[in-house]
């Protein structure tokens, strides 16, 4: 699947296109197919996202997983500070990152 990611313009937070807007949870990411360029242009022009780009991902039983390690780290957070990730209480949360 093709998924869209970028950073929130005001906060810098990593965000994923969920079909309606931008979510901080990678599992909300949807397959944009061939529509990536149009969505990115519209959203960037509206100042809702910074530096968006399309990447390959995979829908697994556990959730959406970006293909490249860099985007998996973006989706999870710094692997050396699990307390700062989106699921700090879940020690298994980052098992898919590396």
């Amino acid at each position: 699947m093709k998924i869209l990611t970028g950073n929130d313009l005001k906060t810098g937070s990593v965000v994923w296109w969920d079909g309606q807007g931008w979510s901080i949870y990678v599992d909300d990411a949807v397959d944009v197919g061939d529509a990536a360029d149009g969505i990115m242009a519209r959203e960037e022009a509206a100042c809702r996202v910074n530096n968006p780009y399309a990447i390959d991902g995979e829908k697994t039983a556990d959730g959406v997983r970006p293909a490249h390690i860099k985007d998996r780290v973006r989706a999870y957070g710094p692997t050396v500070r699990p307390d700062l990730t989106l699921k700090p209480a879940d020690p298994e949360a980052g098992n898919w990152v590396i």
């Binding site: 313009l9 005001k10 937070s13 100042c47 910074n50 860099k70 780290v73 957070g77 692997t79 500070r81």
Partner: protein, 544 residues
């Protein structure tokens, strides 16, 4: 230390308001990302993997308790409770919001700090010996020249749009604690046969994807000609640099392509021209700046005796303190390399503790080192025990200065958008592997430096053992290098052979270290043994 005058303060305050307006225009959509990016970079604001990152300048690594407390406040208020000391003696924050960045810069300005020229194509933070003004072996405090060069190169129109970044270092001792020759432009203060103080000048060094060690371009430059000479160097580079190729824009590439002799000839020609313009500083200006760096009022008649009855304290003293120029005083190094921790990271509470110690025991001075540690430069020997106790309680009393666990590591793929591989987990694994204190002490000085990509922010080219993270078909892979050094016998590390995965590289380092232990001669450091026997002995140990 230097204090802002009304002009410095006015410039920094104005810059904050200018950036506030730029950020507002970006958020409201009046500026595109392409338009805004160079503006934010001129104020040290990057966009990294997880958020904006702000790099705050600590000129020549010198700051005080008021500033450290402000850095702690910023960590709590604008970030997530911690900061990260860098290999350029700066501090950076990883979780900054664009909508709050101008307020943050405004807070920094209240304590005479900023993030100007910590990024972008400009003269970056001037670095210096972290022991400046305290070291027993220095000729004179190098920081007045650092400060004057800082003032000269900040906002100077001709050098505001350089081809690429430009890094300067200044030291004043034979021993090089600032990786001098890995800089674009470097000064070592020396005394000539007539007893006059001047600069030994180096040019054309740098790490990154194409490393070069700076060559000596001048044996002796009178100190009062430094502005002319530096301007000449910058102008020759600025005029001739390859602006068509980002990978060939650093001055080291120009020096390499022109050749040292031709580069020096062009600099000399330009230098003679600058001398006629009389742009160098008058003695009165040096005196004015130098007065800010007058030695603190050291007590006279102090004893050099230290009560070593506590064996843990004695170990710390032996490893973490260094000879001071004033009798009865010591330089105390604070390790930011706890076993299993993140090199260079420090919590807001720890920052406050260091600020308290500096205020109480070190004439209110703190230093940041390029090796990502901190220093209390002027501690009475009789106060060392109290300092150690407080550091111990705060988790800052590790005993590993320059040892195998005192690892330099860039933020790597955990934070950095340029990185190909993670650096920090590797540093943690290596530190854990060599955690045994007796083993560390036995191995002696051994500098490991890790970069998560070829930009070399973790100084892997200068590591006795260097590690370079690369992307191998979407997976992290690590190249092992040996033989680098950033000291007065600067050398560039060489790749040993095929790379390793995360666990494999730790094993390879252990094999390297054990080979050193087996073949070293009495008194030899790792780098000495490497230089004596060469790469093959180690390759055989690593690859079999």
């Amino acid at each position: 230390m230097y204090r802002y005058d009304k002009y410095d303060q006015a410039m920094v305050d104005a810059r904050v308001e200018e950036f506030r307006d730029q950020a507002r225009r970006r958020i409201e959509g009046h500026l595109t990302d392409d338009q805004f990016k160079p503006l934010r970079l001129k104020n040290g604001l990057y966009l990294q993997l997880h958020a904006y990152m702000l790099r705050v300048a600590i000129p020549y690594g010198t700051f005080d308790s008021r500033q450290m407390r402000k850095l702690a406040h910023i960590a709590r208020t604008y970030d997530r409770g911690y900061g990260h000391f860098t290999t350029r003696q700066n501090i950076q924050y990883n979780w900054i919001k664009l909508e709050e960045a101008a307020d943050l810069l405004g807070e920094l300005a209240t304590v005479e700090m900023h993030a100007i020229q910590t990024s972008g194509e400009s003269v970056r933070n001037i670095s210096a010996d972290q022991y400046a003004g305290a070291a027993a072996d220095e000729i004179i405090d190098p920081r007045p020249w650092c400060e004057m060069i800082r003032q000269m190169t900040t906002f100077m129109p001709e050098f505001s749009y350089l081809p690429r970044k430009f890094k300067i270092a200044v030291i004043a001792s034979k021993v090089d604690r600032a990786a001098l020759r890995w800089h674009d432009f470097a000064l070592r203060i020396v005394k000539n046969d007539a007893g006059e103080i001047g600069f030994e000048v180096y040019a054309g060094g740098g790490m990154g994807r194409t490393p070069f060690i700076a060559f000596k371009i001048r044996d002796f430059l009178p100190t009062d000609q430094i502005f002319s000479y530096l301007q000449a160097v910058l102008r020759v580079w600025n005029r001739n640099a390859r602006r068509d190729n980002i990978h060939k824009q650093r001055m080291k590439i120009l020096v390499h392509e022109l050749g040292e002799e031709e580069f020096a000839r062009q600099v000399e020609e330009e230098f003679q021209h600058f001398l006629t313009l009389a742009t160098d500083f008058p003695q009165a200006e040096y005196d004015r700046i130098a007065a800010y760096f007058a030695p603190p009022p050291f007590e006279q008649g102090l004893s050099d005796e230290i009560d070593r009855s506590d064996p843990e304290f004695a170990l710390w003293v032996d490893r973490q303190t260094v000879a001071h120029k004033a009798p009865g005083y010591a330089i105390a190094n604070i390790s930011l390399k706890p076993i299993g921790g993140i090199p260079g990271d420090i919590s807001a509470d720890q920052m406050d503790l260091v600020a308290d110690l500096a205020e109480r025991y070190s004439f209110d001075e703190i230093r940041a080192t390029h090796a990502q540690n901190l220093v209390l430069p002027h501690v009475r020997k009789q106060d060392l025990y109290a300092v150690w106790q407080a550091l111990t309680e705060a988790g800052l009393a590790d005993v590993n200065l320059d040892l195998v666990t005192d690892i330099i590591a860039c933020p790597g793929l955990d934070y950095c958008s340029l990185a190909n591989a993670r650096s920090i987990p590797l540093a943690q694994k290596i530190a854990e592997r060599f955690a045994d204190r007796q083993r560390q002490q036995d191995l002696g000085e051994l500098k490991i430096k890790i970069s998560g990509c070829i930009n070399a922010c973790g100084h892997h080219h200068a590591g006795n053992i260097g590690i370079l993270g690369v992307d191998k078909k979407g997976s992290e892979s690590y190249q092992l290098l040996l033989g680098g050094s950033g000291d007065e016998e600067t050398s560039q590390a060489k790749i040993t052979g095929p790379g390793f995965d995360e666990n494999g590289i730790v094993d390879a380092i252990e094999r390297t270290v054990e080979r050193y232990r087996a073949i070293r001669e009495p008194g030899e450091r790792f780098i000495d043994t490497y230089r004596r026997v060469g790469m093959d002995q180690f390759k055989e140990a690593i690859y079999g």
